[in-house]
Assembly symmetry: D2
Homo-oligomer: 314 residues x 4
C-alpha cells in the first residue's frame, strides 16, 4: 500500500531545523526528488539558490515521534548532469602546517562524468589521464535537530548533516534518531565520487536525482546515525577532534551490539576490538565524521537482530 | 648471490636505539628469525624477557647510510604457537568519556588459533561463537632513530616503531628512512589478527617466526615510512592527535607523488583527493598511526616509478 | 541622550537565533535586566523555564547591520540570590581516561554566597573550610548567528555563546561581530565564580541582575569576539579541539594588531610572541574557549587605536 | 654541611638518557653551572655544540632511587650575555591553517638585553619601540627517563624535558620523579623571556649562568613534574593534543590533593574546580605543556603538607 511520491523542489534550506514541511509521507513510501549541488546549481548548471549544501525538503514522516528512528533506504542516486567540480588542492588543514605555505592559490576544477565508462575525468589537462570511478553518494542529509536548533549544512551532529561519508551510497540503509514530530528529513550535496576524508574540501560536486524509501522504527533509542549495506553494519560519529568522532562511533557500535543485539560486554568488546574497521568520512568540515564498521558475518549466532523487529509496546 | 640468514635471538630490546647489532646482512639478503610476544613470551609460552614489545635485533644492513631507504619485504609471518591473548575490553580512551565509568575491570582474554580453519576463537565462552580470521601482522618494527635517541617500543615516529597497522602483513614491502649507518633494523610484537585502531590496546598477541628480505635504496629522501602491497601504495603517519597522523601521512603521499613520481601539484592533489583511502593503524599507543593509501591502478600513465630505479649518483 | 532601560523577561531562549526582539535600544543605551541560572531557576530559586543556559533577550540594537560590531560594556553583574550550585566532581573528559572509572557518581553541590566576606562556601561539609572568592561573570551571551542558524546555548562560535570565560566580568568591554540587522543580543548563565576551564562542567551557577551598556562600531570587520578590560586586550576563540581555539584566538589577535592597529607583521608577531598570555575559558562545552591576551601597556607608541575611532565612511 | 659545586661543562647532550654523570652531589647541595643557548652558542656567542637545546649534565644525586622525587630549587637564572634571538613569526601550527599561506619566510630576530631597565628590545627596527620585560626561565631540564630511553631535548614527558613553561623561573621549586639511580639531572635552553605557548617556536634564547639546589624526597610517588612558587602549587602535563596535557596536569593535581594532602575527593574536586588556573607552557614542541595551578591560600586548614615531611620508613 505504500506509494511513490515525486517532489520538485522550489526552494532550499541551508540549515537543518524546524522548517515547514514540503510533503508528508507514510512509513514505507518512496520518494523521488532532485537536489542541487553544493553551490546551488541545478541539473542545467544554473545557480538557483545560494551556495552552502542547499537542502531539498524537509519531508514529514507521519507517525514519527521523538525516540523513534527514521529509516532511510538509499535506492538510487543519479547525477542529473554530466559535469561536476571540486577544489584542485588539498585543504591546508589536512597537511603539515609548514607545508601549507607552499600550496598554490585555491582554484576550482571541472570534472567530466563519463557514465558509459563509469569514470570522471579532468578536461583541463588532457596530457594527464586522471580517472576517478563514479561512486555517487549523498554528502549532507539528516533530520531536524532537537530543542529548536537550526544547524548549518556545513556541519554535522547526531541529527546527521554534512557527514560526507562514502558509505551513504545506493544500497545503504541509514537509521537516524527522530527529535521532532514528523522527523523533518532533508537531503542534498550529492557527490559523483569522493575520496576518504573529502580532503579537497569537496567531492565531485553534482546535482542529483534521488530515489529513497522512508520508514519508521518506533521506540528504538539511538544516539548517532547507524547504517548498513550488504556487508557492513556501521555507526557514524560526528565531532572534532577526529578522535572524538572515533569515540562517538565506537561507543554507538558497542551500544548497538549490547543493547539492540543483546551481546554481553565480554563478547561485544573483544568481537568488535578484533574485527572493527574504520572509515574516515571527512576531515574537512567543522565536525569530522568517522564510521565504525563491523562485518555482518562477524555477528555470532546468538545475537538478536540488529534492527528491532518487534518494537516495544508503549 | 644473496643469502638467507637464520637468527635465534638471545636477548631483546625495549627501545629502538643505537644498540649493538646482532647480525650483519647485505642488501637483498633474507632473514629468518623469531619474535616473542608483546609481553615477552616465546613459542613455548614462557616469559623470557620483560614485557613491552620486546624487539629482536638490531640487524645491520651493510652500505646503509643516513639519507638512504631500508626496504623491508615481509615474506612470511607465522605464529609460532597456537594461542594468543588480548585485553577483553575497549580502552577507555576510545570511548565517550562518560561511558568509561561503566567499563568492567580490565581482564586478559586467551585466544585459540585454529590454523586449519584460519580463525582465532575464545575458549572461555563456548556459548558464544566468536571467530576472528587469522591475518598475521607485525605491530612494532623499525630502524634506529636519529641523534642518539633510544625510543620506547610503546610508541612510534618517522623511524617506525609501534605502529600497529594491519598493512604491515605478508606481501607488503615497507620503506623506512635510514638515520644511522647500517640502519639497525628491529622487529617484534606480532599479532595473529588485529582490528583497525587496536582498540582493545592489543591485537591477538603472539610469538612469531618471521621471514623477511632487507634491501637498500640509496639516496631516496623520505620523511615517514612508506609501503606497498599488491593493490596499494601507502604512507604511515605517526602522531597524536589523530589528525596530525592524517597530516603526516597525507603530506608524505603528496611528496611521493610529486617528488618521486614527478606528478605536478595540480595533478597529484586532485588525483589523491578524489581517490585516497585511509586506514586507521592504532588509536591506542602514545603516537597514533594513520595510513594514507592510493590504489596503484589510479596512477596516471605519465607517472615515474614509485620506487626509484636509478638512484642518483653521488 | 542615552537612556537606561529596565527589562523584566517573561520567557527565555535556549538557542541564539533569529528570535523576535523583546526590546529595542539605541547605541549607548544602558540596560538593566535579569537572568535565570543555567537550570532555569530565578532569584527566588524557582525553576521557571527548562534548563540549558536560558537566555534573556534578544535585544535589538538600532542601526546595527552585518559587518558592524556590537559593543557590550559589562557594568554590573550581581547575584540575585544568596546560593548557587555546581557539580561536585571534575568531568571525566578532563581527566586521564583510565582515571574516569574511579570517579564517584555525579552529584550536585550547593554553595552559599557570603557577600559580606566576598566568598562562596559549601554548607554540606562544615569540617572542611572551602572558600571561593566571588568573581561574578557571564557564562553565555552573544548575538544572532548568520544564515538562519539557531545555535544551542550549550556551545559557542564567532557569535559568542557559551564561552564560560572569566574575562567576561564587570569592567570588561566585549566586541561581537554583527550578523543580522539589530544584532539581536542575548545573555544568561551567570556564575558567581568559576575556575579556569569550568572543569566541573559548571561554575557556581546563579541567577543575576545585570547592568550593561550596548554600543555600536560601524564597519569594523572582526571574525571572533574581542574584548578589553583595564589591563588586557583579548580575543576569544571557540572550537574543539583546544588547539583550534588557540589558533582562532591567536589569528584574531594578530589581525587586530595588524589590520586595526596597523602594526606591520614583523612587529606584531614578535611582540605578541614574547608577551602573549592565554587564559583557558572552558574545556567542557562542545566548543572549548581560549582567550589570547596582550597587555595594553605592551603596545608600541606607533600603534593605531585598538578600537576604531573614526569608522570608515560608507 | 651542604656544599656548593661549580661545574664548567665540556660537552652537552641532546637527549635526556642514561649518560655518564659529570658530577655527583649530595641532597641539599648547591650547583652553579652554565648552559649554552638552544642553538649551542655560549656566553661569547660562539657555537660550541650542535643546535637542539643542548643540555649541561647529567648530575648524579646521591641516594636518589626510582620512586623518589628529585627537588630542584631554581635559585638564580642569569643571562650570561647581553643578546638573544628568536624566530620573527608565529609558527604556522598556531594559526588558522588558511592563514599560514600568508606567513612571510621565517627569519631570525636578534634581541638586545638591557639589564638595567630589565627589558629586551629589537635593534633592527628602531622606529618601533618593542619592549619585553626580562623574566629568565629554563626551557628544558629534567631527569633520565625510565627503561633505557634516551629522549630528545625537543620534546617532554613525565621526566621533564622541553616544557618551555614560564613557571620554571627563579623562586620556583620543581619536583621530578626519579626513574634511575642518581636521577641524572640535566638542564639547558634558557630564555630571557617567553610568551605563553612559545608561539614563535622560541623564547628569547640565551646562554645562562644557573644556580640551583638539588634535594631528595624519598618514597614520594608522583607521575608528572610538580612545582611551587611563592603563590602557586602547580603540576605540569606534557602531551599532544593540548587537551591531553590538560588531562595529565589536572589528574596529577587531584592526586596531589587527595593522596599527598589527604583531602577527600568530594573536597578536592570542587575546590580545584572552582579555583583552578591553567597556564599554557608551550604549544609548539612535539609534546605541548600545560600547567594546572592552585593558589596555596586556597588550601583548607585540614590539608596535610603538600610536600611530605616525614617520608615513609622503608
Amino acid at each position: 500500500m505504500s506509494r511513490t511520491h515525486e517532489f520538485h523542489p522550489q526552494h532550499y534550506h541551508r540549515t537543518l531545523g524546524p522548517h515547514a514541511p514540503v510533503l508528508e509521507l507514510d512509513p514505507g513510501d518512496e520518494l523521488i526528488t532532485w537536489t542541487v549541488d553544493a553551490r546551488g546549481h541545478d541539473a542545467s548548471g544554473r545557480q538557483i539558490t545560494p551556495r552552502g549544501n542547499p537542502q531539498t525538503g524537509p519531508f514529514f514522516l507521519r507517525g514519527a515521534r521523538p525516540g523513534d528512528v527514521l529509516v532511510l533506504e538509499l535506492l538510487e542516486l543519479e547525477p542529473s548532469r554530466d559535469w561536476g567540480f571540486s577544489q584542485c588542492f588539498v585543504d591546508p588543514g589536512i597537511l603539515d602546517p609548514d607545508q601549507a605555505r607552499k600550496l598554490p592559490e585555491p582554484k576550482l576544477l571541472r570534472w567530466e562524468l563519463d557514465r558509459d565508462r563509469g569514470v570522471a575525468t579532468v578536461a583541463d589537462w588532457p596530457e594527464w589521464d586522471i580517472q576517478v570511478p563514479l561512486e555517487p553518494m549523498l554528502g549532507c542529509f539528516g533530520v531536524c535537530p532537537p530543542q529548536g536548533q537550526a544547524i548549518s549544512t556545513a556541519t554535522s551532529g547526531p541529527h546527521g548533516g554534512n557527514m560526507d561519508c562514502r558509505l551513504c551510497a545506493p544500497g545503504a540503509t541509514i537509521y537516524l534518531p527522530v527529535f521532532e514530530p514528523g522527523a523533518l528529513f532533508f537531503l542534498g550535496d550529492g557527490h559523483a565520487a569522493q575520496g576518504d576524508g573529502e580532503i579537497l574540501g569537496m567531492g565531485i560536486e553534482i546535482s542529483m536525482r534521488v530515489r529513497v524509501r522512508l520508514d519508521l522504527v518506533p521506540g528504538w533509542e539511538i544516539r548517532w546515525p547507524r547504517g548498513e549495506n550488504a556487508h557492513w553494519l556501521f555507526t557514524l560519529g560526528n565531532a572534532r577532534p577526529l578522535m572524538q568522532a572515533v569515540q562517538h562511533a565506537t561507543t554507538e557500535m558497542l551500544d548497538w551490539l549490547q543493547r539492540t543485539m543483546e551481546l554481553p560486554a565480554h563478547v561485544a568488546h573483544p568481537l568488535l576490538g578484533q574485527r572493527v574497521r574504520y572509515q574516515v568520512g571527512n576531515v574537512f568540515d567543522p565536525a569530522y565524521t568517522m564510521a565504525c564498521m563491523l562485518s555482518k558475518e562477524a555477528l555470532p549466532p546468538g545475537a538478536k537482530p540488529w534492527r528491532p523487529e518487534h518494537p516495544p509496546a508503549e
